[in-house]
Symmetry: C2
Subunit: 208 residues, 2 copies
Amino acid sequence: MRESHAAEARPYHHGDLRRALVDAARRLLEADGPSALSLRAVAREAGVSPAAPYHHFKDKGELLDAVAQEGWQKLDEAMSAAKARAEGHQKLTALGLAYVCFARDNPALYRVMYDAARDKEALPDQMENGEDSAYCKVRTTMVELGADPVAEVDLELATVAAWCAAHGLAEMAGFKQFTHLKDTLGGEEAFLRAVLNHMGLFPSAHRA
Amino acid sequence: MRESHAAEARPYHHGDLRRALVDAARRLLEADGPSALSLRAVAREAGVSPAAPYHHFKDKGELLDAVAQEGWQKLDEAMSAAKARAEGHQKLTALGLAYVCFARDNPALYRVMYDAARDKEALPDQMENGEDSAYCKVRTTMVELGADPVAEVDLELATVAAWCAAHGLAEMAGFKQFTHLKDTLGGEEAFLRAVLNHMGLFPSAHRA
DNA sequence: TGTACATCAGTGAACGCGCGTTCACTGATGTAC
DNA sequence: TGTACATCAGTGAACGCGCGTTCACTGATGTAC
């Protein structure tokens, strides 16, 4: 067992090393945190020489981007599923909860996603336009729940506000300071729901 | 001019190297970002040998902690000032705005602050208890504006929610996706205010 | 006031390390004839 | 169906780098007598 568990008796040509590298990166990430994500470590984890990744990614940054992009996709999926599971006016809170739980369950990946975004000073393109993106789904859900789609600015503001709220909560939820409040409210999920409900997630027209 | 601009003709004993190191760290931070913050770079920037910092900090982590702690202090001060400047029911929004502006103006420091917090899984102790901490000030302000201090859980929830909202907005505000919305609303500050106002910053009793 | 000496706060060289990337290479695969 | 050859996707050794930390040292300061 000298080899990484991902290695085994591999043929010389890997088959889909790109895929394997992204998977290896995610494994490392959740095991040892974002600082463990070096190109060499990823290659090692995938059972391959340190030069091999260069046949699939221009440089380290491109590998990180691929990992981040897959993260955004997984977030989209998690939120889709949560929305489908929830009923009517609960859908919005369900989306928020799914967001926060994704961040809690994939903390290192979540970090890499936003690190990549900050580098580019932009969230991924697909979020702005893609019908299936988590971000657009929030807006769509607001309209479904009765928000006026003609009040564009208001709708956009509400979407941004909801996104900020979820992100802020995601980053705070792990701090020890809030364990007392969690206990008082009856557990973490209750706490998350309570905070989300405290924030105005709906467009203001809907609230008035 | 071979020396760092902080060096000049220094006596052998520095006087207050600890202070100088923290200052150097902050200078590096805002100039080149968090990844530039190595112990060696800080020593270099302070015009001192790489071993010198070890007379003032146990290791690199302790230096970073000192930088972060000073960051929290500066945040406290900025929010105090903003609260003093604002009138009545505007105080809460003013606090939020000051928070977000602090993050915008000291992005790398802000990052280091939360990195340190995440390491410990806790915000700094003083935030929980210190009367002058920014966090406590938010709660106090809510009471001053009419929130019922007896509804402890509700008050605490409202404080957490406001803190999350501000943090979320602080991290989102820089993304290119929102430049259109900023323009529509008449500038960045208008955008920040609009988003903050969209979130329920008051305790629910106050809203009902 | 002067001197011996302990302590403090620096120096600078060295350590081992893991990193990103490049290079010449070679084994495996696919295609043309 | 077999063979020559181009291309693809790996290897492994090497590069230079900056890092955190340690070490024996030394210059400056303060204190006791």
